[in-house]
């Protein structure tokens, strides 16, 4: 069969697969979950095939990029159907963040800045949800804003999720009194700088168009000195670096960070220098925070996929090095 024919066949199979499952979903089909036996079989099959790849490599046949891609895809997708759960160890920087929130008195005002957009939501949305949940549980007042245009929409999604919980419904939380969403403002780090003198000048209205003055929660909040704690969910610029440099360094704000795992390493210098109280790094940080808050959210659910994908990457690094050493450090292996 020619390559072209193979490609068309594969494409057709994918289309059929999608159609079958889509029709199944539309007609009310439930999600799929593997039984433990099947799960173990899948894992065993993956290990055996990896060993096979190792054998091939030792024999001198290097695998192509595409094979690596297929393995990564499988390692990320299949664990979502497995019924296992795992214990999550808590790292000190997550504990520190949780503790610093716990020491706040009920009624304290917490400013949460949503500085990310949907592409980074898989990592940051679970943190947002569990942080807001924690604030509400401890009767803290939540003020939301965004330096990224799509941030406040993400905040609304998180709020909706948290408030739909029965425990939260019982608290009878009111918009404007217990939480408020000030919306998005352009100007990147300059927004933070100007908030140092006046919140109202940057957010004359909230995202619904209600004027700042008529929101009881923020009416008396002039600037950072009226905020007890702030939390920044950040996926890049403008984000944590700007919050630390301006809000912390210039206005002495107490700041906690929720970062994508890419950004997190850079933030450890700030943690060390005492500029931030704690860091949630990546989906793992989110899962740790969820377990501190005794809540099973999406971060916890996805941790299995996460672990699997790490194992796959590590496996390939080992395979790559085995091949490298067996080839007598020939530079021929350097490319592909």
């Amino acid at each position: 069969m020619s390559t072209k024919a193979k490609e068309i066949l594969t494409l057709a199979l994918i289309v059929v697969f999608c159609l079958v499952f889509y029709i199944r979903k539309v007609s009310g089909g439930e999600g799929i979950i593997f039984s433990p036996l099947v799960s173990w079989l899948v894992i065993a099959a993956m290990i055996i095939s990896l060993l096979w790849v190792l054998v091939l490599t030792i024999k001198g046949r290097l695998i192509s990029r595409r094979v690596v891609f297929v393995y990564v895809g499988i390692a990320l997708a299949l664990p979502l159907f497995m019924p296992f759960s795992q214990k999550i160890p808590i790292s000190p920087e997550v504990q520190a963040l949780y503790d610093s929130v716990k020491t706040l008195k009920p009624g304290s005002k917490v400013l949460i800045s949503f500085d990310y957009d949907p592409p980074s939501a898989p990592e940051l949305q679970p943190m947002a949800e569990s942080f807001i949940r924690l604030c509400f549980e401890r009767d803290l007042k939540v003020i939301i804003m965004g330096l990224w245009p799509q941030g406040p929409q993400q905040a609304n999604m998180a709020l909706e999720k948290v408030l739909s919980d029965d425990k939260m419904k019982a608290k009878n939380l009111k918009y404007g009194e217990d939480y408020v969403n000030l919306g998005f403002q352009t100007g990147n780090e300059f927004v933070i700088q100007r908030m140092g003198t006046s919140f109202e000048s940057m957010f004359p209205t909230d995202y619904r168009g209600t004027s700042y003055d008529s929101l009881p929660l923020v009416r008396n909040v002039k600037n950072f000195s009226n905020i007890e704690y702030s939390f920044n969910l950040s996926a890049g610029f403008p984000g944590s670096v700007e919050w630390v440099q301006i809000a912390v360094d210039r206005y002495g704000v107490q700041l906690g960070l929720g970062n994508t795992a890419v950004q997190a390493p850079q933030m450890y210098t700030y943690l060390n220098a005492g500029q931030v109280t704690g860091i949630l790094g990546g989906m793992n940080g989110g899962a740790e925070f969820e377990s501190l808050c005794h809540y099973k959210g999406k971060a916890t659910k996805y941790m299995l996929s996460q672990s699997f994908s790490h194992m796959i990457v590590i496996a390939f690094i080992i395979i790559g090095n085995v091949a490298y050493f067996l080839s007598g450090r020939k530079s021929a292996l350097k490319k592909k």
């Binding site: 595409r66 994508t260 220098a273 989906m283 996929s305």
Partner: protein, 211 residues
């Protein structure tokens, strides 16, 4: 419409993923849509957020905004080839302002702040606390001081990296390599999470396979 929306989103998602296999017509189509759509998206966003939201609404109250509009106008003179060189004026303004602001901001945050954080008592938890640090902290402090010192030596440009100086610089690049390794390792995790998000869309929201 809802079916169409989901299938369209899935079509575009899979189109990008198909690039992993090889460059193909599907990817070329999605790439073209992406480039055109995102350029247009930012065009609209900048028009409404910056031009309308910042300038048009605020111009009567804040007269200084006219300066921005004037600079923008000078920039647009580019469209008239004969006097296009005037657009260098707003550009020099921006470059000048950026240099001034960055000079001082990075001096305080990257130099002052980081040097301050590096200067610490090695055997105490903080200045004046006496020799109260635990062995792990002391080792940590030593590692930080050693790493920062050697790392900075690596960045010396005006001295040849030879002799003792060269060895120090070499250790500096080792520390930097460890830093890169750790960052890389951390990022592997982050990147995996992102694709989990897309799988959640494809297999969950679209095909309804995930519980």
């Amino acid at each position: 419409m809802e079916h169409f929306s989901l299938w369209l989103a899935a079509f575009l998602t899979l189109g990008i993923i198909s690039f992993l296999y090889k460059d193909n017509a599907w990817y070329k189509l999605t790439e073209a849509i992406f480039v055109g759509l995102s350029a247009g998206y930012w065009f609209v966003a900048l028009f409404w957020d910056n031009f309308y939201g910042k300038f048009w609404i605020g111009k009567d109250e804040h007269l200084y905004l006219y300066v921005g509009a004037f600079l923008g106008l000078l920039m647009l003179l580019r469209l008239i080839p004969k006097i296009g060189w005037i657009s260098r004026w707003p550009l020099s303004f921006i470059v000048g302002a950026t240099s001034g602001l960055w000079l001082i901001n990075y001096f305080s945050s990257n130099i002052m702040k980081q040097v301050q954080a590096t200067i610490m008592p090695l055997f105490s938890t903080q200045y004046g606390a006496g020799f109260n640090a635990e062995p792990a902290t002391i080792i940590g402090n030593l590692v930080i001081v050693f790493g920062t010192f050697t790392g900075l030596v690596y960045f010396f440009f005006s001295k040849e990296h030879k002799g003792a100086f060269g060895y120090t610089a070499k250790m500096g690049i080792w520390v930097i390599m460890i830093t890169f390794g750790a960052s890389f390792g951390y990022t592997v995790m982050s990147r995996m999470s992102l694709f989990i998000g897309r799988i959640d869309f494809l297999l969950g929201e679209w095909l309804g396979m995930i519980l």
